[in-house]
Each structure stands twice: as structure tokens, then as C-alpha cells.
């Protein structure tokens, strides 16, 4: 899809004014973090598993060429085909060719962020093949021609009324006055519609949560079971996956699965975890006759060994979105492409270029919450800072910001002047901010137009520190803490 990331500021403004979105985000902001915390607390080994999950992916990335070859060998040995695609265009062409060779008219799809990334739906449509998203959320946004607004909950921005309206417009063969007020009625309608499509599809296109080198297996994780109907019923199963999805063994996949659902939805494990290996065996009664894996690079090899190398450990759980104060204020669409939240802000500039995604690394308070919940322990704030540094060096960003940074840098290198200027400023603000909060501050309208700024109490940290008075603790204690 075409990115609108450059429009981030306008997108974000629109998102803040979008009522159904704000309601959904308020619900998400409570539900997901709470469930994740409960799931983590229930498993004493959770932190240890996170360490191991990180180490497994680090080991894979160091040996990615070898594991890819080993994986390919196993897929071929089990009767499947592997297609290596350096670019999104190559992957689209490859998938089209497989569909055409199969004489396909319809392709059922289960949710795949990679398929969003390569925009395969529009491409298949242009070539006379109907792609059908089957994950309920993806189905809804496909009908609305929208991108996903969350990597695991793609239609989270919509109200049930909006979904009902979408179904009324799309399912014109059904009675116009049917009741669609309840989520259950919406689900039943979608289930019925999609069931026909599942049974008729010629090709099933799925993503992969992981690819297991040991056995040439792809892993699919869903709660709905749509990936299973997608891979089992059509004559041809196509898997689209990016190269970093490899893990060495079934045990390694298992370790990552133990942290995936807990981080994503707070479930102990998702309802369906499926391991597909090759096409059906000669005496099997069902399953696809052909099995293809489309391996996509699309910028990943450029990230290997770069400052963004560790981003390749990401398992797309969505925890960093659910805990991000920026994501929770504006949702996913504002980011302007298929990914969003902290992982999107790091990944999108890698995939579409820093120029087009320049606002995203700045859409973060660097509060560190994302890194603290990331099951793969990806240092997202560090990488956001790397993008900011690169932008500064490349002279991307507003003159005002660059000037302010210059001025601050000059001051920061001169501690005495810095302290004097700060104490002046603080004293002034302390005088004017009598009621404890500012409604407006010169040069900070961007902040104060939406919220008040707390007024300082009239003294800097450093001077309090020297006086030995900081809150309830003695200055000595603070001094010791700082020195440590």
C-alpha cells in the first residue's frame, strides 16, 4: 500500500478527533496490559523464557544463511517448493504465478502482515483473482478498503455500528432489515459468508509466525481457526514469510510460543497453534496437494548487522503498541503504513526509507515501556534514538527543532552557564505559574494547546540536590544513588 507516514501530524490530529477510535483505544489501554501482566505473573519462568527467546533469535540471525538453506532442504524433502524473493514486486509476481498455474479464481487468506507489506491483494485483483481475507478483523477492513490499525487486532478502530454498516453495504443479497445490533449477529453473518468462500477457494494464502528449520515447517497462530481452513481446504497452500521468521528446532519454536500469546493477548496460548509441513501425504484424506513457501527479503538483509539488527527478532505480538502512550492516543492508522506503534516507528523507516517516515521515530516519549514488555527484549527506544540521530545528521526535520538542539547542546557543554540559565528560567516560571499549571507557554503551544503544563516549584534539581533536600529522602541518599 502507499504510505501516508509523511502526513503523520495530520493523521494524528484526525485520530484524536475520531470518537469510535478513542473509545476503542481507551478499552485497549486497560484490557491488553492488564491481561498481559496477569499472564506473566502466573508463569514464574516468564522472564527466563524471554531471555531464551531473545537468545534463540540472536543465534538464528548470526547464522541466518545456514538456517535458511537447512530449512529449504527440509521443505523440498517434504514435497514443497521454496521461492526466494528479494523484493515485494518479486513476491507479488511469484504468488500470482502460483495462483495462475493453479487456475485460481479465488484465494482465501489468513492474516499476514507480510502480505499487507507487499500489497498482494490489490495486485491479485488487478489480475482477475479475488483475494478474500478470512480473519474477522481483516475481512471487515478489506470490505472497507482500510489498512490494519493494530498488528493483532486489525479492526480495533471500528465500532460495531460501523461494522454493521459495512456488512449492509457489502452483503446486499441478505435481507436489508435484518438485525445487526449485536456483535454475535455480525459474527454469524461473517462466518456464513466466509464459510462458502473457504469451501470454494482454489488457493489458500497464509503467513507464518515462524519457520522451523529442523523440519521445514511453518507455524500458524490464530484464535479463530481461519488459518486452518485456509491451509487445509484449498488444493494449493502458499505461505508468505520474511526470512527472519526462521527458528532452528521444534523446542525453540515452543519457547517463543510460550511468550507470544502471553505478550499479545494475555492468553496462556492462542486457541490454534498449527504446524504445517509440505503437502498432504499420499494416504491423507484432506490437506493441500501443493505446498509453496515464498521467502521475502524486502529490506531485511540490509538490517542485518546495522543499528536496527535487533528489530529482526520481532515476533509481531503487539505488546509494544498496547503499552505505548502515543499508540494509545492515536491508534495505528496515523502511522500511515501497515505497521504501527514503537515497532512500526523503528521498522517503517527501514522498509520505506527515512525521508518518507521521518516523523515516526519522533512520535515517542522514549518512556521505555515498550522495551520493558517486549518478549524479545528489543531495545526499541535505543533504536528510535538512532533514527533521530540519523535524521539530525542528514538534516531532516524542522529548522526550529535543529536550532533548539544546537542551542541546548551549546549550553549542555557549559555546565555553569547551563545551571545559571536554567535557574533563571525556573525562577521565572515559578513566579508566573502561581496556580501550579500553565495554560500556555511561549514556544510550547504544541504542548499547551491540548493540555496544561505543570509549573515548576521554583528550584532546580541541582540546587535542591546541593541543599540536600529532595522529597522525603535525604540529600545524602540521593547523592549515593546518583553516584552508584
Amino acid at each position: 500500500m502507499d504510505a501516508t507516514s509523511l502526513n503523520f501530524k495530520n493523521n494524528a490530529r484526525g485520530a484524536i478527533a475520531d470518537d469510535p477510535l478513542q473509545k476503542a483505544l481507551a478499552k485497549l489501554a486497560v484490557g491488553f496490559p492488564l491481561k498481559r501482566a496477569q499472564a506473566a505473573a502466573r508463569l514464574p519462568e516468564f522472564e527466563g523464557l524471554r531471555d531464551q527467546a531473545r537468545d534463540i533469535k540472536n543465534h538464528v540471525l548470526e547464522n541466518l544463511d545456514l538456517y535458511l538453506e537447512a530449512y529449504e532442504e527440509k521443505v523440498i524433502a517434504s514435497g514443497g517448493h521454496v521461492h526466494w524473493c528479494a523484493t515485494a514486486a518479486d513476491a507479488r509476481e511469484t504468488i500470482l504465478k502460483i495462483c495462475q498455474d493453479a487456475g485460481a479464481k479465488t484465494v482465501t487468506k489468513s492474516k499476514s502482515m507480510i502480505s499487507e507489506e507487499i500489497a498482494v491483494n490489490g495486485f491479485l485483483e488487478d489480475n482477475g483473482i479475488e483475494p478474500i481475507e478470512t480473519d474477522l478483523g481483516e475481512y471487515i477492513i478489506q470490505l472497507r478498503k482500510e489498512p490494519p490499525s493494530h498488528i493483532i487486532a486489525p479492526a480495533i478502530h471500528l465500532s460495531k455500528e460501523q461494522v454493521a454498516e459495512t456488512f449492509r453495504n457489502a452483503h446486499i443479497d441478505l435481507a436489508a432489515n435484518r438485525p445487526l445490533e449485536e456483535p454475535r449477529a455480525l459474527l454469524e453473518e461473517a462466518r456464513g459468508k466466509l464459510r462458502e468462500k473457504f469451501l470454494r477457494a482454489d488457493v489458500g494464502l497464509t503467513g507464518a509466525n515462524m519457520l522451523i528449520a529442523e523440519t521445514g515447517t511453518n507455524v500458524l497462530v490464530t484464535n479463530e481457526g481461519n488459518a486452518d481452513l485456509t491451509n487445509n481446504l484449498p488444493r494449493v497452500h502458499v505461505v508468505i514469510a520474511s526470512i527472519e521468521k526462521i527458528v532452528p528446532t521444534l523446542e525453540d519454536a515452543t519457547t517463543i510460543l510460550r511468550v507470544l500469546a502471553r505478550s499479545a493477548t494475555g492468553q496462556e496460548i492462542s486457541v490454534y497453534t498449527t504446524f504445517c509441513t509440505g503437502p498432504r501425504r499420499p494416504d491423507d484424506l484432506d490437506g493441500p496437494e501443493e505446498y509453496h513457501v515464498v521467502l521475502l527479503d524486502n529490506g531485511r538483509t540490509d538490517m542485518i548487522g546495522s543499528e536496527f539488527h535487533e528489530m529482526l527478532r520481532c515476533i509481531r505480538c503487539g505488546a509494544c503498541l498496547n503499552h505505548c502512550p502515543i499508540y494509545k492516543s492515536i491508534g495505528g492508522h496515523a502511522y500511515g503504513w501497515v505497521y504501527s506503534g514503537p515497532m512500526g516507528a523503528v521498522l517503517i523507516p527501514n522498509l520505506i526509507g527515512m525521508e518518507d517516515a521521518q516523523h515516526l521515530p519522533n512520535a515517542s516519549t522514549l518512556c521505555g515501556k515498550c522495551e520493558s514488555v517486549c518478549p524479545m527484549r528489543i531495545p526499541l527506544p535505543k533504536m528510535l534514538r538512532k533514527w533521530r540521530e540519523r535524521q539530525y545528521r542528514a538534516e531532516i526535520g524542522s529548522k526550529q527543532v535543529r536550532w533548539a538542539l544546537h542551542a541546548w547542546a551549546w549550553l549542555a557543554k557549559r555546565p555553569k552557564v547551563y545551571r545559571y540559565v536554567m535557574s533563571l528560567g525556573i525562577a521565572m516560571m515559578g513566579q508566573f505559574g502561581g496556580a501550579g499549571r500553565f495554560k500556555s507557554v511561549p514556544f510550547a503551544g504544541g504542548w499547551t494547546s491540548k493540555r496544561d503544563l505543570a509549573a515548576p516549584t521554583g528550584d532546580t534539581f541541582i540546587s535542591q540536590y546541593h541543599k540536600g533536600a529532595r522529597g522525603d529522602q535525604s540529600g545524602e541518599l540521593i547523592r549515593r544513588k546518583i553516584m552508584r
Binding site: A24, K27, P44, E45, G48, L49, Q52, E62, N63, L64, D65, L68, A70, K74, A77, S78, H83, T134, L136, G137, A153, I156, L158, S159, K160, P183, L187, R191, F198, A213, E214, T215, N223, E224, G225, N226, D228, L229, N232, E251, D252, T254, T255, L257, I269, V271, Y272, T274, F275, T277, G278, R281, D284, L285, D286, G287, D297, T301, I304, G305
Partner: protein, 235 residues
């Protein structure tokens, strides 16, 4: 240049791999060792408690569970289930010899067909490879006796699992599958499809409201049978 050469070539130069031997061995050794990572202690229990944990975890995610003392009790248990949910007395069973040879006709008035699911079967009955107590998960492996479509197309899925096949953790089930592949002369392979199933199908895609029965079964009923003769039991 082919996509393959392009991708692998770039990776090799990025990873600075002049000679591949050292880390090649490291990678291959890792794959062949099947080294176990950290396994949660939760499932590490003697059989009776393990089965109890399995039941508790499965019920937590909306599955229902009955315990039977004989495999021969399965037809009556299925009949009870159909009556309880006011379902038609017609089922599609997996063409598993044990399941087919049960006294369906003698003990019940259920119409029994076997084979894969076609989309119009309301209720299926199949046999699990095993269970995992850690999360109340059943494990299904595809094969001529166990078509995968039975796990997903019907609205009600009834699964028979032997109490002896309920393991503490997933790793124990992988070991069983590896042993089966070795015994069949196909080491290092898996069945076409292995499903871990934990509760019935669900979605929260509409306003984050939890609904069961999204695409797969709306109800999952597990029959734990003690003393069912199956494959190797896990200690």
C-alpha cells in the same frame, strides 16, 4: 542473479562469512541436539494431578471435559452430549479403527459416518495424539485415521484422548512425534499438520468483545479415557 543467490549472497557478506565451517557446525549441531530450553515446572506432576491440571486449564478456556473409565463408554458419552445440547443424532467420526469398532449401533441410535469433514457435518468425533497439561491443550496429528478438517469445520468437536497420553509439557509430545517418525523410517519429519488446540474457536475483533465459534468449532468437548490402548505413553 536468482533471488536465492541475491539473498544468501548478501547475508554471507553482511555476516562476514569467509569460511562457513565453524558456525555451520554450530548451527547444525544445535538443530540436531533438540536441546530443551526452559520448561515451566507447572506441568511436572504425577499422572493424576497432571490430568487434573489438564482438565482445569482446558475448562478455563471454555472447553468441557468428561472422564471415562473405559474406551467402550465413548458412544454413550457422545449420545449424552448430543442430547444435552439438543443436537441432531448424526456424527462424522475419524476413520480410526478403534473409534469405528465401538458399539455405536448397539449402544446408541446415532447415525455414524466416517471420513473427512465436508462442511455440512454438525458434530465430529476424533482421537487426539495427546494432551498437554501445561495449558489444557490437545494435540492432533494428521494422518489417514485423523483428517484435519474434522477439527475445524463442524460447530461441535468432540475429542477422545487417553489419560496416559496427557503430558506435562509440549516438549514431551514432540519427542513422541520424533519417535513415531523414527519408527516409521522417516526420521526428522512431521505429519502434514500438527494442531495444538486450546479451547473452542474465538474472536474479539468486534469491539474487543469475546465471542466463541468464529470459524472453527463453537464448542470443544474432551473425553479423557483411562486405560485407552494407544501409542507410547509418557511417564
Amino acid at each position: 542473479m536468482s533471488g536465492r543467490d541475491q539473498i544468501l549472497g548478501k547475508l554471507r557478506s553482511k555476516l562476514g562469512r569467509a569460511s562457513t565451517t565453524v558456525s555451520e557446525n554450530a548451527a547444525l549441531n544445535h538443530m540436531q541436539a533438540h536441546q530443551k530450553n526452559l520448561i515451566p515446572a507447572r506441568g511436572d506432576l504425577p499422572k493424576a494431578q497432571r490430568v487434573a491440571l489438564f482438565k482445569q486449564e482446558a475448562e478455563k478456556v471454555n472447553a468441557t471435559v468428561s472422564e471415562l473409565s473405559h474406551f467402550g463408554d465413548v458412544p454413550n458419552a457422545v449420545a449424552d452430549y448430543l442430547r444435552q445440547h439438543q443436537l441432531p443424532a448424526a456424527i462424522k467420526i475419524a476413520p480410526h479403527p478403534g473409534l469405528k469398532n465401538l458399539r455405536w449401533a448397539e449402544d446408541t441410535s446415532i447415525e455414524v459416518l466416517d471420513g473427512r469433514a465436508n462442511g455440512d457435518d454438525p458434530v465430529s468425533v476424533s482421537v487426539a495424539l495427546g494432551g498437554v497439561a501445561e495449558t489444557g491443550t490437545i494435540v492432533m496429528a494428521s494422518g489417514p485415521d485423523t483428517p484435519t478438517s474434522l477439527n475445524f469445520l463442524p460447530l461441535d468437536h468432540i475429542v477422545v484422548v487417553s489419560a496416559d497420553d496427557i503430558a506435562g509439557n509440549y516438549e514431551a509430545v514432540w519427542e513422541r512425534l520424533r519417535a513415531q517418525a523414527d519408527a516409521a523410517g522417516r526420521p526428522g519429519t512431521l505429519p502434514r499438520t500438527v494442531n495444538w488446540i486450546t479451547g473452542p474457536s474465538r474472536t474479539a475483533d468486534i469491539e474487543q468483545t469475546l465471542l466463541l465459534g468464529a470459524h472453527g468449532p463453537q464448542r470443544l468437548h474432551i473425553l479423557i479415557v483411562d486405560g485407552l490402548e494407544t501409542t507410547a505413553a509418557d511417564a
